[in-house]
Each structure stands twice: as structure tokens, then as C-alpha cells.
Amino acid sequence: MTQQTAPLADEPAGARNPASAGGAVTLTGLGKEYGDFTAVHPLDLTIPEGSFFALLGASGCGKTTTLRMIAGLEDPSGGTVRIGDQDVTGLPPYKRPVNTVFQNYALFPHLDIYENVAFGLRRRGVKSVKGQVEEMLELVELGHLARRKPHQLSGGQQQRVAVARALINHPKVLLLDEPLGALDLKLRRQMQLELKRIQTEVGITFVHVTHDQEEAMTMADTIAVMNAGRIEQLGAPTDLYENPRTTFVANFLGQSNLIEAQVAGTSGDDLLLSVGDGRLAMPTARCVPSVRAGDKLLAGVRPEKISIVHADDAAEVPEGRNKITGRIVDASFIGVSTQYVVNSPWCPELAVFAQNVERDGRLVPGAEVVLHWSPAHTFGLDAAQDIEAGEVNA
């Protein structure tokens, strides 16, 4: 097992050793089994201090379990948890320098907002909590509701109390378990920005668990994509999106067209592929498995990278583009763009997103079209995987 280290977004590599900093989280061989079911396979992971780290995965993939092991609320079956320089594996939760925002907030129902927020300070014997609590309530814009009980707040307000209650302790690491899961879309977007702002302001390491890929991409510096108890891939959002290494990541993070192809040969830095009667090219560097002529491969391309033209205009497609002909089976207009589904003889149901700049009236279901895209936008994946892994729309 190799040690995966997330790069810190805007810091040169090696500027500091993340593992020795105060708020870095280092997991080594950390795993959890329930009886003979493995919820989390032993994983190695370093989360640098001060980063906004997202743990992304479908329901039941072990995100909460991983988070709870860091918080000390779950005993790992094996491995260690280090926070900064300290091995905390054997420490109970109340001795760890981390705080958690729970999936359903877990606010204390018998205490008012003020006392909820003051709870951590009081337990550590801080004498005068007033100033800090008021300051924290201002930060989350709830100063005027200090004397209300949790059940008298809206979902979004409760969520902010949960964040305030954890943040006030200045933990080295803040763990957030789908804190926005219960909110409606608009509030969710608003709270995403809010959380991001708070994180930038306080500079604490955030470990954010979510199953919403958009949320992970807008908020995090680094995303770890989890699948069935394993981390499939880890990297910056753009890196994960542009260079998925598995079909699960390609399908779970955004949408991908995966085309079954065969390696025909090479040409300079490019790999030549044959798809049925057609030919595609892609950069050899963007191919995950090392392949030889004759090997099978999944050629991937994101729907928004593809251009669509009517078959009558096929001659206008520039040379050197990857081309596939097909017939439109579905077109849905969604305002800023139109989403087409195109069937081609060798690959069914290709998705194409076209910006609505100048709409071509001929592009309706049944029309013959040519799809084309730059070979540089193609990525190659191992063909031995489930091509539909991680697809969200089942």
C-alpha cells in the first residue's frame, strides 16, 4: 500500500512537512471490520494542516466510519491515527484535539444556543466564556438567537450552531459529517460558501464528508473519492475531474462517456485507437494502464468537451479531431445548455452538452450528427473494470 499525500493547493511542494504540523491528520493502515464485513479497508492517508479535505463517496462506503475513527467515537480494527505529532489511536474522544459536526447536528435539546456553544469551553474549565461565545455567535450570525432552544431554530440555523459549537474550541481538526445533508438546495449553496469562508478565516484543517460531488468540488482543496471502503483516488478537484483513474471516479464525479476501444498503435505522443470502423487518438500520457497494440481500453471523454454538428456539415469539422457519427435519440433543453443523447453504431448513449450560443434547428431527435472533440481531451482507463461503476442516475 502506498502512502497517499494530498498536495496543499497553493503551497509549493516541500515548503513544510505536513505530517509534523499541528493540524495534519495521518492515518496509517486504519481499517474497521464489523464481524466479517469490512466497512473500511486499511487505508493510508495524510491530510495536510490547514487544508479543506473532502471525503466523497456513495452511501454506505465507509465515510462516517472513517470520520468516527478519527474522532475516537469508533475503535479501529487496526492501524493508527496521528494528529500533528501525537498518536491519538488509544485516546478517548474527550482527549483528542478534534471536534465534530454531526450528520444531524446532535445539538443538546435541553440547553439553549448559548450553552450549546459554551459547552466545550466549560468542560475544559475556561473561566470566562462570555466574550468567546458571543464572538463565535457573531461569526455564524446567530447572536440574536442566543437564548433560544435548538428546536426553535430552522435547519440552517441549527447547522450553524453545530459549526459554532465545534469551532469555538479551536480544534486542530474539524470533522464535518454531511453537515449540509438536511438542507434544501438554496440554503445548501449558501452554507457551502459560508463554511468555505469560515475555513479560510480560521485556517483549521477541515475534513468534510459528503456524497454530493458538486459540494466536494466547490469546497475542497483536496478530494478523496471512496468506494466500498477504499479510497479510489485522491487529488485536487480539477485533477480528479480531468484525470479520473477509475471508471468509478469518472462516473461518480460528473458524467463521462466511456467508449470501448482497442489500441491500434502509436503516433508520436499519441495513442491510436480503433472503435468499430472508426479511429480515435489520445495522448499516451493520459492513459492510466500501460498498453500495447491489440489491448482493450476504455476511452473517456466528458460530455461538455464534445462538439455536435449536423451530418450535412460534416465537411466543416477540422482535421485532427476525434470523430464519431451517430443519431440523436434525445435532446433536452435546460436553459444555458442542451443535453443530447446520441447513439452511434459502436457506442450507445453518448452524452453531449452543448452551450446554447447559436442553436441549430436541425439538431432534433432522429437527426444524423457528427460528434467531434480534441484528442487531448480523451483519457484512457483500464478496460477490465465495470464500465457503469459509480453512475449516479440508476
Partner: protein, 266 residues
């Protein structure tokens, strides 16, 4: 039909008043007859108004001793049953252990079983174990049947408590000890209080089970009333009855006020 409509709209009020009357009229009768000066030895028909009984409530025989005994037993039984019952409720609500099923079932037994059967069999048990009937045997019996009520009330509260609240407390630096006293206990408290109040109320007026397990020198208030009723009921019994009623109503009113103030406060 405006009249019919008016009646229909206030049906709930009528029902409420009727229920209230049904429940309080016996108590009001007791109250009224505590101001009676009966002709004979029985206080069953109105003669004329008098404050004698109220001026001298302990005037008859050992009545006040029996009231004091009942109070002592009720307080101790409530204490014992509440402490024990709360622990049982936490054990049943929180943990999975061998024998959990049977225990859960047995807890219901004292509530379901006819009192006379339970009183008699407990008496037989004490007799066979050669335990002297008296204060202790009554207390043991009372704790036993109060236990069920406490366990039932507290367990419901414990089961509905989100385990993540305690985890959140621990996550916020609370030791297990302070987690219990600051989170678990306050949240379970209404259940515990309900169980304790019920215990007190049932213990203080229990007659059947007490009758089977009392000694010759331990006469509780219900037993005293029963005994007295055989040969003539003194007015003082009505005084004590009225006081108990007033105390109970006061408890309820204070409880209501407290919870209303807590709500208004928050």
C-alpha cells in the same frame, strides 16, 4: 341553527368539564364532610358545620402515627424504586445482555398481576423465609411494585434519546462522568420524575399488598382507615384526605407552572 353550532364548537369544553366533574366530585364530598359534625360514629350524613376536626386533626387514636408511617414508607419506596428503576431502565434500554428479554417481561408483571395475588404470595414468601413482618417487609413490597412504573417511564425516555448526543458531549471534552450528569441525566430527568411521582402516589395509598405484608405494629394510613371504617369513621380521616388531595393538586400546578415558565423562557 346557531345554538346547535355553538354547542358543536364547544363540545370539547363540555367533555373536559364533565371529565373534571367526574374526577373531582368525590374529592369535593370528602372536603365538605371534613367540616361536618356527625351525629353518630359514622360521617355519612350531614349534620352541621364545625371546624373541630380541622383544629385537632390528630385527635383520634393513632391516626397521625399511621399517616407518618405511610409518608416514611412512600418516601423511602420512591427513593429506592427510582434509583433502582433508573438503573434497570438504562441497562435494558442501552445494553444487549443475556436475560434481557425475560427481565423486560418480568418488569411488567407487577403491573399486570392482580394485587391480591402478589400481596398474598409475597406474604407467603416472607413467612417461609421467617422474616418478621413490619416496616421492612412493607418497604420491600412497595419498592417491588413501584419499580415497574419507574422502569417503564425511564426506559421510554432512554430509548428515545439520540446516542449521538452523548457522543457529541464526549467530542466536546466531557468525561463520561460529566457526560452523564450534564447530558444523559437532564434529558432522562422528566421520565425519572414521572416515575418517582407515580411511585409516591401508588405507595402512599396502597392497601391490599400492604395488608398482607404488614406487622401488628405497622399500621399505614389506608390500613387505619379500613380498620376505623369497621367501627366508625372519624371526621379527621376526611381532613387528611383533603390535605392529600390539595398536596397532589399543588404538585401538578407547580409542575405545570414550571414547565410553562421554562417554555416561555426559551
Amino acid at each position: 341553527m346557531p345554538v346547535l353550532n355553538w354547542v358543536r364548537r364547544h363540545l370539547v369544553v363540555f367533555a373536559g368539564v364533565a371529565a373534571l366533574a367526574y374526577m373531582t366530585i368525590p374529592n369535593v364530598i370528602v372536603l365538605i364532610f371534613s367540616f361536618n359534625q356527625p351525629k353518630g360514629r359514622f360521617n355519612y350524613s350531614w349534620n352541621h358545620f364545625s371546624l373541630d376536626a380541622w383544629k385537632n386533626p390528630c385527635g383520634v387514636g393513632d391516626m397521625c402515627d399511621s399517616v407518618s408511617l405511610s409518608l416514611q414508607i412512600a418516601v423511602l419506596a420512591t427513593l429506592g424504586a427510582t434509583v433502582l428503576g433508573t438503573m434497570v431502565a438504562f441497562a435494558l434500554g442501552r445494553y444487549r445482555f443475556r436475560g434481557r428479554g425475560p427481565v423486560t417481561g418480568l418488569i411488567w408483571l407487577p403491573m399486570a398481576m392482580p394485587e391480591i395475588v402478589m400481596g398474598a404470595s409475597l406474604g407467603t414468601l416472607f413467612l417461609n423465609m421467617r422474616i418478621q413482618f413490619g416496616f421492612l417487609t412493607i418497604l420491600i413490597a412497595h419498592i417491588m411494585f413501584c419499580l415497574s412504573f419507574v422502569v417503564t417511564a425511564v426506559k421510554a425516555r432512554v430509548m428515545s434519546m439520540d446516542p449521538r448526543l452523548e457522543q457529541a458531549a464526549q467530542d466536546l471534552y466531557a468525561t463520561p462522568w460529566s457526560t452523564f450528569w450534564r447530558i444523559t441525566f437532564p434529558i432522562a430527568a422528566p421520565g425519572i420524575a414521572a416515575g418517582a411521582l407515580l411511585s409516591f402516589a401508588i405507595s402512599i395509598d396502597d392497601f391490599i399488598i400492604t395488608q398482607f405484608n404488614a406487622g401488628p405494629a405497622t399500621v399505614t394510613f389506608p390500613m387505619f382507615v379500613w380498620g376505623a371504617a369497621q367501627k366508625g369513621l372519624p371526621v379527621q380521616v376526611n381532613v387528611i384526605g383533603t390535605l392529600m388531595f390539595v398536596a397532589a393538586v399543588l404538585c401538578v400546578v407547580v409542575g405545570q407552572l414550571l414547565s410553562r415558565r421554562r417554555k416561555a423562557h426559551s
